[in-house]
Every structure is written in structure tokens, then in C-alpha cells.
Amino acid sequence: MDDQEKAGFFRQVAIVGADECDEIGIVPHKGILQLHAEAARNALDDAGLALSDVDGMFTAGPGWSPTLQMAEYLGIKPRYTDSTSVGGSSFVIHVEHAAAAIATGLIDVALITHGESGHSNRFRPGSGRPSMDPWFPMSQFELPYHVGGAPTHYAMACMRHMHQYGTTHEQLAEIAVATRKWAMLNPKAMMRDPISIEDVLSSRWITYPFHILDCCLVTDAGGAVVVTSAKRAKDLKKKPVYVLGSGEATTHQTISAMPDLTTTPAALSGPRAFAMAGVSHEEIDVVEVYDSFTYTALVTLEALGFCKPGEGGAFVSGQRTAPGGDFPMNTNGGGLSYTHPGMYGMFILIEAVRQLRGECGERQVKDAKLACVNGTGGTLSSTGTLILGVD
């Protein structure tokens, strides 16, 4: 039995600061730790808090013990750290963990940071992923057959969805096109030239069934959010963005162990978050979901329950998720067109906060009061869902 509605941080906890680092996109002249630190400074400034107010440190990288590295680098001695690292969903999950720590009085101010040189690290000496233990399942049973990064596994999941439900390349391309339209309204987005469905369909293959325009960018970027109690939030600079509901789920790591390739753990974390918040899908004004690939966004809408399994293709057709459509989604331009340094979950949080505060200028969703945020990590392995709201 899932008793998430009995848990709950209902209006006890709020996100009070959110920002990127100073430059995002191609930033070869700055290291990963610099991206974290700039983002931390900017998000704390946004909140009207000082680094000395922070007593909880949350991050997902870099290295074997991310929060040790970051706390030392920033020069703080937090009494609570959380290095939960389950892929790009991690930062969304950190908000749930921070909310729990704040609601129980263990900490007062949580700082969640992210920084990654996904683009530039490819050209830096000594960089790259640490080698994996040779006895681990991935080393023994996947790498000998080739794993070409995330496209390999996500393409295979998408292929099963297309086979089982008749989802088409054109339907996937709808998401790429709609997301680019949002990016055209975001000065910080990397890709701002218009694209058409035909452009997506004629772009080169990466891993079939994905064209390159079905795939997210690979950039350098950092971001941070600051979380504190609703009580303290009332005295800070900006309108508090309350954590109304949250859910977290993991189902597998390697794709051979994935229970059902045509859904995601959001089918578990989504209902938990909605139950805790006590809101319905119809009440949500803006949706920010991880779009590592067009398919990731499509299947996430199904898993969260915005439509039924298999109906995601029809749901996103007709540019429904684009500016002016009736289902605004990924309003920053997404991982597909705005930025995606490797673990993108931080940036859907930042965009949701900005939309709910009404700070989005040309791309502002009118009267946005409730946002649904969903991060996806690993091989469609882990999710964090948040329902955020403002008064």
C-alpha cells in the first residue's frame, strides 16, 4: 500500500532560490566545480540568503563522494549531506530529501547544486567516466555487445513502444519542434533556429529509431536551488514556491532488468506526488519533464497519467505542447534545445520555479500556479516527481 498522502510537506517547505551559473552552453574555460559555485552564489542571491545560512548540502557529482568535494570547495561544514546520485533525476529527488530534512527540523537551509562540463570534458586530458568494476552486470553483460551511451538504451525502449502502440517518428518529432519553439523564446537556450517536423525526420540517425534531433544537447552548465521552511521563506526576497507533493521511484539499472520498457518509474513516483499534493492532473498549469530524448518526454506524460499508456503520440500531436498550445511543456526549451550537460534534472526545477514566480518574460505561461516536475535518470531507471505551487 502506498501511503504517500499520509506523508507530506504540504506548504511546510519552499524553494526560495534558483538560478544557473553565469554562462551555459559551451564553457571550456570553466571547470565543473566553478559551475557549481557560480550557480550556488546566484541561487543564494536569488533567495536573499548567504552561504553561511546553508546547513544542508546536496549534489550528485562529481566524483566518488560529491558532497564532500562540494562542501570543501565551497568552504562550508554542513551538518547534513546527501550525495544521492541516480542519474539526471537526482536533483529533483534531492528536493524531496531536503524537504524531509527541513520538515523534521534536521536542517534549516538546503543548497542543491549541479555543474557538469558534458561538452568540454570530452576534450580535456584525463577526463571521462571512471572505469567500472569488471564483475558488475553492465561490464559483463552489456559492454561486450556495445553500449553507445544513453541513446542505445533509450532507443531500444522507444522501439518497443513504437512496436506495441504504433507510436510514430512524426509524433516524436512533434516534441522536438514544439520544444524548439519554446527555446526560441529563451535567450539562454543554445538552439534557437526554428525547425520543422520534416527537419527532424531528415536529420541523421544516431541510434535508430532516434534521429539526432530526437536527442538532447551535450553542453556545459551548472545550476542550483535553495530550499527552506515555509516559515523562513516568508521573509525572503522572492515569492515562495511551495513543495506540495513529491514522489521518488527506482525500478532497475541495466535495461535487461527493466520490468516494462514502455513506461518509466514515474508511473510510481507520479501518483505518490499527486496524492501527497492532493491535486488533479487537470489543475496543473505547466509541466517540466526531463527530455533526454523526444521519447523520454512522451513516455513520461503517459507514466505520470496525463494520458493513457500508448496514447502519448496522439497526445502531443498538433503542437499541443508548444507555445500557444493547451499543454505547455518544457518551457525553457528543454534538454533538446536549451541545455543538457549530462544530468539535466536541475534545470527543470529552475524553470518550474521561474514559471511559478512569473519571471519568464516572453515564454511565461499565463497565471501559472501549479507545476508538475519530473526528472528521469539512468536507463529510464529512476524518477523524482514534484508538485510545486504558489499562492
Binding site: Q140, F141, S256
Partner: protein, 138 residues
């Protein structure tokens, strides 16, 4: 193995030794849970469904279907440089478990493969100790 093998090789672990020994003999063996009465993948000392440690090893038929696949147009490892495009797949064995593998011997455009096509195991001898189970259409 006259030419040098350039792709990553698996390192058998204490839990998977029996699996790789089977492959060496061109047989597909998997651990079988005596409580759940079904085999599972990947090999470990206990059943991932019920956490029973009462297991035994059983020989699989080697027959299955393509559960899903992807066709790769770039390589991330030099070992595959000469083979683009190539196919990674999840094969669903007729006994139930899904295995990550390659579909080999595909005639024509691999994008013409379809999920649920019938396949059978073939073994590729890649070193003195290792034979990799791969699958071909039947």
C-alpha cells in the same frame, strides 16, 4: 582467434562463472529459482524475484524473440568502427528472461528488423576463454 579482438571482453565473476563456462561449450545456461520455478538473468547467487538462495543451473533452449532493438550509426568504442550500422537488442528467451545481445547475420537494412521476430542463439568465440552468445533470425 587469429586476429586481435578489439572489443571489451567480459570478466567472469564467481557468480557468473557457470554461465560463461556454458557459453564456452556453446550452451546457454542460466540460474533457476526452485521456489519461483523460473530461470532469471543476470546470474547471481539468489533469485531477484523472491530472494531465495535455493537455486540450480539449467540449460536454456537458445530460442527466443527480439523484444526490442536499436540500430547504431556511430560507434563509441574503436572495436566497432568497421561494423556500423550494427544492432543491439534485448532478446526474450522462450523461458522468460531477457538478455542484452547483438543480432548478427542480418541481410539488408537492419531497420527492417521487427520486434517479436524469432531468433536463436549463436556463439562467437572471441578469446580462448570467452564465447559470446549472440542471436540470429530463424
Amino acid at each position: 582467434m587469429t586476429t586481435e579482438y578489439k572489443k571489451p571482453l567480459p570478466t567472469p565473476s564467481p557468480e557468473s562463472k557457470r554461465y560463461w563456462e556454458g557459453c564456452k561449450k556453446h550452451e546457454l545456461w542460466l540460474p533457476y529459482c526452485k521456489i519461483c520455478e523460473k530461470p532469471y538473468f543476470y546470474p547471481r547467487d539468489f533469485c531477484p524475484t523472491c530472494f531465495s538462495w535455493d537455486i540450480e543451473w539449467r540449460k536454456m533452449s537458445g530460442r527466443g524473440t527480439i523484444y526490442t532493438f536499436g540500430v547504431h550509426y556511430r560507434h563509441f568504442h574503436p572495436g566497432w568502427a568497421e561494423e556500423v550500422p550494427y544492432v543491439t537488442a534485448l532478446v526474450q528467451l522462450e523461458e522468460g528472461p531477457r538478455i542484452y545481445t547483438n543480432i548478427v547475420g542480418v541481410d539488408g537494412d537492419p531497420r527492417n528488423l521487427r520486434c517479436d521476430m524469432a531468433v536463436e542463439v549463436v556463439f562467437e568465440d572471441v578469446s580462448d576463454d570467452i564465447s559470446l552468445p549472440k542471436f540470429r533470425l530463424v
